[in-house]
């Protein structure tokens, strides 16, 4: 027996031993997905894979049809979640520390590209979510029976933009606070509930102006009259907890509905 053969044989028998063990069998309840039966079983028994159907139309899953943009967006969401959690270990959302924690992330901490991956991933996610919507529109995939899933998709698109917007403030540099100032200034012009919005005089009760700088829509967004520490805290919680939870919930419904509405679209 040549050394190569000996090595192959022992590797094969070691593999058999591992796959025959009680531990392996408790995790994977079937043999390797090498034949048709087990390729079906793997999709049905694996938690992560059961998102998919067992089989799909060949043209429906072709890259030139789907561009894989929905999948790429979801993958970027996962990348953002993982890098985001890692960043939270280092980052304190206070005026005293926020900026310097970011400089430390750049200069001191090993794996110094953590923030870069997170930021570029976020920009990429905004782009891929648009491209996904673009593809779904161009193939007419929002048409019955998928109308409602398109609506959920639009909400997810808005949440993606809000996630990116709230995250933009956290480095607390000039770029951050002025971008958020420009963006959130819109809220003070909100009709009726912004203090510089049309119709804000409607809420004028007993000679008291109800909508002022300290009570209007922008105040609710910023937690203060101007972008400040309260805003940082508010955006931090929105960015790290509130919006991701909402997005995760809607993502689950979005995927579930893809399956329930008949899978990836295709000509009838």
């Amino acid at each position: 027996m040549s050394p190569g053969q000996w090595f192959r044989n022992s590797a094969a028998s070691a593999g058999d031993m591992v796959r025959g063990s009680q531990v392996w069998k408790s995790v994977f309840r079937h043999p390797l997905p090498l034949d048709r039966r087990n390729r079906i079983v793997v999709m049905l028994t694996n938690f992560f894979l059961h998102l998919h159907p067992v089989s799909a139309k060949k043209q429906g899953i072709a890259l030139s049809y789907t561009w894989c943009m929905g999948g790429v967006t979801f993958f970027l969401f996962l990348v953002e979640t993982v890098t985001g959690v890692l960043l939270m270990f280092y980052y304190r959302p206070t005026l005293e520390w926020a900026y310097w924690d970011i400089t430390n992330l750049r200069d001191v901490i090993s794996l110094g590209i953590l923030r870069e991956v997170h930021r570029w991933g976020a920009h990429a996610m905004v782009i891929t979510v648009w491209l996904h919507m673009y593809r779904v529109f161009l193939t007419g995939s929002y048409k019955p029976p998928r109308e409602f899933n398109w609506v959920i998709g639009v909400i997810l698109l808005v949440l993606t933009l809000l996630l990116s917007f709230t995250g933009y403030l956290l480095p607390w540099d000039q770029l951050a606070i002025w971008a958020i100032t420009v963006g959130s200034n819109m809220a003070r012009a909100h009709p009726i509930i912004g203090h510089e919005g049309p119709g804000q005089q409607i809420l004028f009760v007993d000679g008291v102006d109800m909508i002022t700088m300290g009570t209007d829509a922008r105040f609710a967004l910023l937690g203060a009259r101007f972008v400040g520490e309260e805003t940082l805290n508010r955006f931090y919680i929105l960015h790290c907890v509130a919006i991701p939870l909402a997005a995760a919930m809607l993502l689950a419904i979005h995927f579930w509905r893809v399956r329930k509405d008949g899978g990836i679209s295709g000509p009838l």
Partner: protein, 443 residues
């Protein structure tokens, strides 16, 4: 003006040298593919010549010597472009060129034409990068994704259009769309799962390379007293910020974007066309295709690109090769409809409520002052839908019913307010159609 920025050329020459080599490689691969797979020798020879051309550009770019054959657009062309471009030429130019692409899509989707277009885009991009002003704005860390977005959108629009043209051809010959052919079911393991895994690996690698090459921006610590000029929102909201040139914040920043989101959600309930479900087509859904492209590519993307690359200090317009000068003066002499009517036409002063009058009297005076603008806006939103229902949208109205038709026509009219206001501003220096600063209601 001064010639070349030698410092800039020195810093960018290495990148440009590699850039042209990459373009040469790209075309060499194309030449090989055309020769080997498609057996088209002449075409392969052509791309080989293009590739050789890039190879010859590369050492010149590596040299980075402005006075000796550095590949650039040349100051004359750059000045010409700067002088020519403004918001008007930019916006109308894009509308015209995209319309041309759409009308002659059968020609433009051909791979040879598309590949030529890509080469031209990349070549002009490389030549422009030799300009310091252009390079500084394009390579700004947060702007790099938008450059990527432009290329991605070009590619995917081409891909979708070429498949749509193919399907439309097939269907006009009575064949089903390509998506229906060869459509047996395959197992998701391995056919889809492997694709997904390869996508994930490529994406992870790409993201890591991107993160290593390009550092995330971090400016000086935030200070609420030092306002940067220009102050820009995050890049994906720059289309909205650009709309502030034409509208007040309550409309450009709140009402229009909320309507756009609502309108997007309404699309599946308004589009009654049963054709074109699950395959690429343009012919079978021309109206929805054009409407969506107008909203997405022309309004949303074009304005983002304008706001990012061409708007500098004080939100002034700067040509792509123009240095951002904070002292660039801009004449502002826009007038309101009420000013025009009372001052220019009636030759009197604007009606003004005497001091000490009640709310009702004040409102009456405002209504008198702004009657022309108010009537115009009311007429636009209330008279146009029934008018369109009896003329251009007759079939739509019959198919959709009253409620759905009214929602669709009002959404379309809302979307059209932006281009209309833009044209009015450019041609008539119109500031506000309705100007009621007493109630922050300027439109």
């Amino acid at each position: 003006m001064h010639g070349f920025d030698h410092e800039h050329l020195e810093s960018i020459s290495g990148f440009l040298g590699q850039y042209y080599l990459a373009l040469a490689l790209m075309n060499a691969v194309a030449a090989f593919y055309v020769w080997h797979k498609a057996q088209r020798v002449w075409l392969a020879g052509f791309w080989a010549v293009v590739s050789t051309g890039y190879v010859m550009l590369s050492p010149l770019a590596f040299g980075g010597n402005g006075s000796w054959w550095m590949p650039t657009l040349g100051t004359r062309i750059e000045h010409f472009v700067n002088d020519m471009t403004g918001p008007v030429v930019y916006s109308l130019g894009i509308v015209c060129s995209l319309s041309t692409l759409f009308v002659f899509r059968r020609f433009f989707v051909r791979p040879v034409v598309a590949w030529t277009g890509l080469n031209l885009m990349l070549l002009v991009m490389g030549l422009s990068m030799a300009d310091a002003a252009f390079a500084s704005i394009v390579t700004k860390a947060d702007n790099v994704p938008i450059v990527g977005l432009i290329y991605l959108l070009c590619f995917f629009t081409w891909l979708a259009a070429s498949r749509a043209v193919e399907n439309d051809d097939r269907m006009s010959r009575g064949l089903p769309p390509r998506e229906k052919d060869d459509n047996e079911k395959v197992l998701v393991w391995p056919d889809l799962v492997y694709t997904e895994m390869i996508c994930m690996i490529v994406l992870t690698a790409g993201l890591i390379v991107w993160a290593i090459v390009l550092e995330a921006p971090l400016e000086e610590p935030g200070s609420t007293v030092k306002t940067p000029n220009p102050s820009k929102a995050p890049w994906y909201f720059l289309g909205l910020q650009e709309m502030l040139v034409y509208f007040d914040p309550w409309y450009a920043g709140i009402v229009l974007p909320l309507t756009a989101v609502g309108g997007l959600m309404a699309i599946p309930y308004l589009d009654f066309n049963k054709q074109g479900n699950g395959y690429y087509t343009i012919e079978q859904r021309k109206f929805s295709y054009i409407t969506f492209q107008f909203g997405f590519i022309i309004i949303w993307i074009t304005l983002i690109v304008l706001g990012t690359f061409l708007r500098g200090p004080n939100w002034n317009f700067f040509g792509p090769f123009e240095t951002w000068d904070a002292h660039k003066a801009r004449a502002l002499s826009n007038i309101n409809v009420s000013d025009w009517f009372w001052r220019d036409v009636m030759q009197t002063s604007l009606p003004k409520a005497p001091s000490g009058t009640g709310k009702i009297t004040e409102l009456a005076y405002i209504a008198q002052r702004e009657w022309l603008g108010l009537l115009t806006v009311l007429g636009y939103f209330m008279l146009l839908p029934p008018l369109m229902a009896t003329t251009v949208f007759r079939k739509f109205f019959v198919r959709m019913g009253f409620v759905r038709y009214m929602i669709m026509s009002n959404l379309l009219l809302m979307m059209a307010t932006l281009p209309i206001k833009m044209v009015l501003r450019w041609t008539m220096n119109l500031k506000y159609i309705v100007y009621i600063p007493e109630y922050f209601l300027n439109f």
